[in-house]
């Protein structure tokens, strides 16, 4: 496993933007070919998608709302990556964050503002501990974090379902919990927009009116702040230096006096907290509740893709998250507009990740291209 991780790291740390850009282009091309084979016009499909993303202020707001949790799960995966750990558990940590946010948002009553903060802190603490379990198991018992986090994902899913079904928490006649109190939400002007002055004001500002038809919330601001925090921790603090040192060479780090085991636990805990923040903000800003899940929702797995496309950098994750959010929001529109399967989005994403996995191939293409130029 070691040298494999190193080769990936080399490629990611070298900040080879070219590889990412080429991979994204290849993904879009493969998507076009698949659509063409299936008998749909790729140009029309991509036009529909672009219009579906940028056509109205409302659409753009939705894109951001879709991107918000992905940025944070991406940050979670990227953070663990820097310590040489593969966090496949963002999914489970997201679930725990969402669950705890709803529990605290519903059972605890606090004044507005304070309540939201308490909910957020409780959720990221719980999710951090959840992520920390995988770090602990790796540090103390050598259990591979990929396996541990996969197991923890499923345990989280069933645990969440179990808690949601408990009496007093499950909303009668529904497959979901009670909604959190308004004091715990982070929606912007949620109530005011339905008051008379609110309506009057929005009528005078059509762009804002369009945007505020969506569940606009503070989530994206939190996500960007978290990206800054992640960047700061990794690049400007001793802790970050130690975590990165463990990631680039465990043995050298140990020799240099860094406690490798402790670093792994801390790294997974912070990664868990970041994914938990995604779950918490999703509940506080968009869903206001947690529902019984038959299968994983995929925020964590999407986070892996976001992290990879973002070259595991904090700000890369913001851009990759928005790209993915746009595809996830705009993609399904080809279904209603032209009957083309929206799953082409998964194929495009998969292709992008696939090519990002093999920088050697991309470099080969690029050098072939260059040679031709010279001729």
């Amino acid at each position: 496993m070691k040298s494999k991780k190193n080769s990936l790291k080399e490629m990611l740390l070298s900040g080879n933007l070219m590889i990412t850009v080429v991979s994204i282009l290849l993904g879009i091309i493969v998507g076009a070919i698949v659509l063409k084979i299936a008998g749909y016009s790729p140009i029309e499909a991509y036009t529909v998608m672009l219009k579906g993303i940028f056509g109205k202020p409302k659409y753009m707001a939705y894109t951001i709302i879709y991107a918000t949790p992905l940025i944070m799960t991406g940050l979670s995966v990227a953070f663990a990556f820097k310590t040489g750990l593969f966090n496949i558990g963002a999914e489970g940590q997201f679930i725990i964050g969402a669950l705890v946010a709803t529990v605290v948002g519903y059972f605890v009553k606090l004044p507005i503002g304070l309540h939201a903060i308490v909910v957020f802190v409780a959720a990221i603490t719980a999710a951090g501990l959840w992520g920390g379990i995988a770090g602990y198991l790796k540090a103390k018992f050598g259990v591979h974090e990929v396996i541990a986090t996969i197991m923890l994902n499923w345990i989280a899913l069933y645990l969440s379902n179990y808690v949601i079904m408990l009496e007093g928490f499950k909303r009668p006649n529904s497959e979901a919990s009670y909604k959190i109190w308004d004091t715990a939400t982070i929606g912007i002007l949620e109530k005011w927009r339905y008051t008379d002055p609110g309506r009057m004001w929005f009528k005078a500002h059509p762009v804002l009116q369009s945007i505020f038809k969506t569940p606009v919330n503070l989530g994206i601001i939190c996500a960007i702040l978290l990206a800054v925090v992640v960047w700061f921790i990794l690049n400007k603090t001793t802790l970050g230096y130690e975590l990165r040192a463990v990631g680039s060479n465990k043995h050298a780090a140990e020799y240099g006096g860094i406690n490798v085991n402790k670093s792994m636990i801390i790294s997974m805990t912070i990664a868990g907290a970041l994914a938990g923040a995604a779950g918490a903000l999703q509940v506080m800003g968009v869903s206001k509740q947690v529902a019984i899940l038959a299968a994983m929702e995929g925020y964590g797995f999407d986070g892996i893709a976001v992290s990879l496309i973002g070259s595991n950098g904090a700000f890369g994750c913001v851009f990759a998250g928005i790209l993915f959010g746009a595809l996830k929001y705009g993609g399904p529109k080809i279904q209603s507009a032209m009957g083309a399967p929206s799953e082409v989005v998964s194929i495009v994403m998969g292709t992008i990740v696939f090519f990002i996995a093999m920088p050697k191939f991309i470099k080969m293409i690029l050098t072939v291209g260059k040679r031709k130029e010279v001729k």
């Binding site: 299936a38 923890l152 345990i155 194929i347 998969g350 292709t351 996995a357």
Partner: protein, 310 residues
């Protein structure tokens, strides 16, 4: 009472089967030194292919074969990336897990007028039950042994893979490549060929696993059909210490948990099915904690091999 045990055992076998196929795929791939985290995606595409071909041709065997081919096709992509282009195998596997379900749902929408759920295969076109009618209906042996053909195939395959890996020259080569590729190279073994073969086989088996779900356990494909079984198979493989027989026992354990959930769902026993469903994963973690050191995978698993590397 004995009938209840029979029911649980039978359900265990049925639910363990898709896992056994996929886990065997994992075993063979990892023994050659390639991590295959994409089993999930390969299973999903296999399940769709099996159900689709089964529905349109009415022939479950053809469905099973095509499912294997579909899984194999994704495995070829994984092999190209991880063997030829020395990609990060986990990342390539993640890509496969996007591609598999993506392609599966895409095809489903094309074949079934925009639906992500395929139409049901009629009872006659489902996987046959070779021992049907031999035992008295609902007797103990009937409940345990009257299984779909895929169940028997899975167990036979466990034996075949065990024999192949530990008793044949090919198996020795696969293990040599996974354990010490440089030494194997020195002995003139074509590492790329062995790894391609192993990875493609793993995809074919994962495809079978998916189809044994969509052609036997249920009779159609739907988006949540596989949900996580590829990952459980992966865990079973590690749990079973990268050995076919070990993986089989682990799959049976996971299957038994599922069997208990189904059984208790039909009785008045007040144990939350959610808690029960959690058990196999907790057990896996506990056992991994207890068995550390003893359980180590093939040394070169996950490491790309570059010819001439020193």
């Amino acid at each position: 009472m004995i009938d209840n045990i029979g029911f649980i055992l039978g359900t265990t076998l049925m639910y363990a089967t898709p896992l056994i196929f996929a886990a065997l795929g994992g075993v063979i791939s990892e023994n050659s030194g390639v991590v295959n985290i994409g089993l999930e995606g390969m299973m999903t595409l296999g399940a769709l292919m099996g159900a689709t071909v089964g529905y349109f041709t009415g022939n479950p065997w053809l469905g099973l074969m095509c499912a294997g081919l579909a899984g194999g096709f994704l495995a070829v992509l994984h092999a190209i990336a991880s063997v030829t282009f020395e990609a990060d195998q986990v990342v390539s596997g993640i890509a496969i897990n996007f591609l598999g379900p993506g392609i599966a749902l895409f095809l489903s929408r094309i074949f079934f007028e925009g639906a992500t759920m395929t139409k049901s295969i009629d009872l006659d076109s489902k996987m046959p039950r070779p021992l049907d009618g031999i035992f008295a209906q609902n007797s103990f042996f009937d409940l345990v042994l009257n299984q779909y053909a895929t169940v028997y195939i899975a167990f036979i395959l466990v034996f075949i893979i065990w024999y192949m890996l530990y008793k044949t020259k090919l198996g020795l080569r696969i293990r040599a490549v996974g354990e010490h590729p440089k030494a194997a190279d020195t002995l003139g073994i074509n590492i790329y060929k062995i790894r391609y073969l192993s990875v493609i086989l793993s995809g074919i088996f994962a495809g079978f696993g998916g189809a044994s779900m969509s052609l036997a356990v249920v009779s159609n494909f739907r988006p949540t059909l596989i949900s996580g079984q590829g990952f459980i198979a992966l865990a079973a493989m590690i749990f079973g210490k990268w050995k076919p027989q070990g993986a089989m026992w682990a799959c049976l354990l996971f299957g038994a948990a599922q069997g208990l959930v189904v059984f208790l769902g039909g009785t008045a026993v007040e144990i939350s099915s959610q808690i029960l469903a959690m058990l196999p994963y907790i057990i896996t973690l506990v056992i991994l904690v207890g068995f550390v050191g003893k359980s180590a995978g093939p040394a070169a698993s996950g490491v790309p091999y570059e010819k001439g590397e020193r």
